[in-house]
Symmetry: C2
DNA sequence: ACTAGATACCTAGTAATGAAAGGTATATGA
DNA sequence: TCATATACCTTTCATTACTAGGTATCTAGT
């Protein structure tokens, strides 16, 4: 196989595998405490080592709010751009519970299906 | 929120979250031993409880073979339709290792980010 | 005063995948 | 004869992450 082809496949696969996962990650973090958007980008990168484009994150936040799973309040600082703080609604907490259960099923299936000797 | 909306969201989210995951699951199973397509559908359902449409599975197998990660041999039985047995190529084993590493990072991030009290 | 960079928000277009709904063919049992 | 199970495959659609843009405020350096 061509040398770059492996890397290209993995990059694309990773991008696909992150679908859904990123939403769960954001809800998980908002379940701990409120965050503003830019803060989430930094926190995800620094604490999880997961890179996320800010454009991707804001799209996720917009979707979650449209679903009624998160809500926001503006905080206008004396210095610097205003911040939009998000936290979970009761519907969001319910959705998070169900999403975690689905995720656990998937993680369990990967564990069970994985051979040790490949 | 409308009663059916929660369920509709979860179904869609699950569908998105399975992207990538299903390919990893298939490679994991083929890493243990060879399987034919129809067998994979049953095995995934029976041992993991994960439902997978056979059309989805055959598309995955076609992609993985196009990438050079799996190969097949035909088995013509005396009775019933012929079976197409798949197993991993060396490239497939390498890809599987890398995909598992990415998956572990994601699973770890979910664990670390998850609050216990939501 | 000007520039670069960091902070903080947002949008439009593209590519890739799972799901649904179809199709083909062989064998079995009512 | 008809339904069901086995076993393969294709086409179309909806959704989401990524890329590459954009706006605006503040700070630091020249």
């Amino acid at each position: 196989m061509k040398p770059g082809k492996q890397a290209a496949f993995l990059a694309n696969w990773t991008s696909q595998a992150r679908k859904g996962f990123l939403e769960l990650l954001v809800l998980n973090l908002l379940g701990r405490r409120e965050h503003y958007g830019y803060e989430l980008v930094e926190r995800i990168r620094d604490s999880s080592g997961i890179e996320i484009n800010d454009g991707t994150l804001y799209a996720i936040l917009a979707r979650l709010q449209k679903e009624g799973f998160i809500q926001h309040r503006w905080e206008h600082l004396e210095k610097g751009p205003a911040r939009k703080y998000y936290d979970l609604t009761p519907d969001g907490k319910n959705a998070l519970k169900e999403m975690r259960a689905v995720w656990e099923d998937m993680a369990g299936a990967v564990r069970k299906s994985g051979a040790r000797n490949v």
